[in-house]
Symmetry: C2
Subunit: 432 residues, 2 copies
Amino acid sequence: MKKINLGLIGFGHVGSGVVKILRDKKSFLTKKLGVQIRVKKICDKDIASKRNVSVGKGILTRNPQEILKDPQIDIVVELIGGIHPAKEYILEALKKGKHVVTANKALLSEAGRELFAFAQDMGKSIYFEASVGAGIPIIKSLREGLVANKFNAIFGIVNGTSNFILSQMSKQQITFSCALREAKARGFAERNPILDIAGIDSAHKLILLTYLCFGRFVDLRDVFVEGITEISLADVNYAKELGLEIKLLAIAKKEDNELEVRVHPTLIPNNHLLASVGGVDNALYVSSDLAGNLLFYGPGAGQMPAASAVVADLVDLTQDIRAGLFRPTLNIVEDKSIKRLRKIDEIESRYYIRFMAKDLPGVLAKISGVLARFGISIASVTQKERRFARVVPIVMIIHEAKEKNLRLALEVIDRLEVIKQKSVAIRMEEVY
Amino acid sequence: MKKINLGLIGFGHVGSGVVKILRDKKSFLTKKLGVQIRVKKICDKDIASKRNVSVGKGILTRNPQEILKDPQIDIVVELIGGIHPAKEYILEALKKGKHVVTANKALLSEAGRELFAFAQDMGKSIYFEASVGAGIPIIKSLREGLVANKFNAIFGIVNGTSNFILSQMSKQQITFSCALREAKARGFAERNPILDIAGIDSAHKLILLTYLCFGRFVDLRDVFVEGITEISLADVNYAKELGLEIKLLAIAKKEDNELEVRVHPTLIPNNHLLASVGGVDNALYVSSDLAGNLLFYGPGAGQMPAASAVVADLVDLTQDIRAGLFRPTLNIVEDKSIKRLRKIDEIESRYYIRFMAKDLPGVLAKISGVLARFGISIASVTQKERRFARVVPIVMIIHEAKEKNLRLALEVIDRLEVIKQKSVAIRMEEVY
């Protein structure tokens, strides 16, 4: 029976999961494929620690060149993460005529265009299903299952850590820092969780989703990114009273031939499917021209879900190799109707706003006067119970307004003598 | 540029959608594929009526043999539905060395084993993404995206008509027959909707899903099927008070090396994702060993969603043909841990039960006495307001009980002099 040899670089959490699946399900996969996938070599800095799968000493190495230079290796699986040296390994592997499977969203979001183009030149593929939504087959669905579709928008809950924190705040009535502590204690947040809670990880994934949906590689600096660190329990609860839930959404959305690409805490109606996505789970809500609105939901992280996606990529590649089929990663067609990226200043949205104002007559008149001056109209307003001596929260929903106008209005309002704290504004989204 | 020729049998709603997509997106698809998909011939009994896409007269025919016997045609798309003559056409196409794309769940659920095996013998493929969940790429996800997984269960809302009716009953507070009338008026139910509301269409799809998840073709007569025709608004509302929603679920579930395959109205917690699937939408909730619990959601019917799936199949087949890759439809590996099918009598479930009893002292004692005799224990009981003179609904939730015991108990109870109407029992499901 034909064997496909793979070299694994990165024998960590997901890497050992991949090896475990290939071992545990060897006969199952071989039967499906008619080909045997064999782990020929595993490279890691640490080849001493125990993993949840044991491998022969002979196949472990600290030297990646033993994989990259091995002409028998057909596929390199890169699971070390980060930009360097992952990028160099992938380039080297492609140059040596190997296909690549990776889960490295940070790298692909930064250098995907370059890497995919180089792979194309080499006639090799880069598969990356595990880089977004772990075991959810979202990349395959966008590339293949929905191949005939053009996309209007994608809305993703793509960071498990942030979603866990927001869910816990809402359900357990705890503060942000308390929920973050719990996430760390339960292994759902890294010791330094900044990439997650600041929205950077979501932005990395959004860049890949934007490429898949619209055929455009956006630079991270062109993605508006706001994390969840400023979300207070008070806002979670006021929103809830309005039938809204706060989620960290990664949004790529086409409007009037412009593309909005942004990550920020977003208020959505609590009866929307995305509002029911709790804990560390992920979900992608896709709006397409033919297949309509679709949701893909599942665990967005974890050893086995991610390894499941890596193995699915391996299976696809194995079939491709056997048939001599080359499916270029760059076969995504650019949506030419998109003329430019829309800056965050220019987006139009409804907003939830919370002012902290002195409890005096005429305050609301002052606030609404400023809003009116900037052409912003109020949909609803509620004055909450007094929280501190003589300071009351005023919660407002405003009709569609241009972000820039709102920013300017809030700057003016926040300088009013009656306003005691920086006002909070959270974007709302209809999500179709 | 290489051309792949297809012949379409069935130029109805979905068929004309397929032609429209292939025409409207010709350059888009050609760019992606490097191959042109060309509609060489279209066969329909009616070649006179206008469709939403116009085609040259020369390619229309009433004679399917013009497609089946044309050696230049690589792929036959069968969209006439029903068993005969669809089956004969497909067999003939395969015999003539053509691949097949179909959306025919009725046929595949009855003769899939035979057709897939014949295709395998011929070295050809049958693709059928549009047969379940229309545009939702569930078949591709199960076969490819989750290729490394074994499945524990799949729970599907796979019939849009039934889901629309149940949703309307719940939301608009209307009766079953009123909701059915509305479904017909809005084009969501056929003039004779029996296949939909009696659960047969769901059972057809469930047979295909069961094959994809467990590698077993189950006969329709081994699937327990109960439709929604007996669901009353009263039960919808009593369930709602208990935090439950009634959905017509198609369930295939492995328990202790036995497989349960059943379609019936099912009570699920209203905070479960499946409970939020409203209107004519479909959803598949999949429990897998590696990727965890996943949900796939979207429009389960409609011209363009279904055509989107057919075109995705065509694209896959085109790639296969170009590369000479043969992906047999029978590469699904049978789950050998399954020893037998579990009969409905043997399943264990919690149940919602509504008795209509005389409003007399001692009634509850009589009912619970009978239940106890059959080893059935009560989780909660509520006596509702009197609905008819001296007859009160008693709503009960019972702990896990064997279906057979419950049936026997209800038979005894329904013969009690105090019981004025056949008791209603609805299965509950945890859905993980």
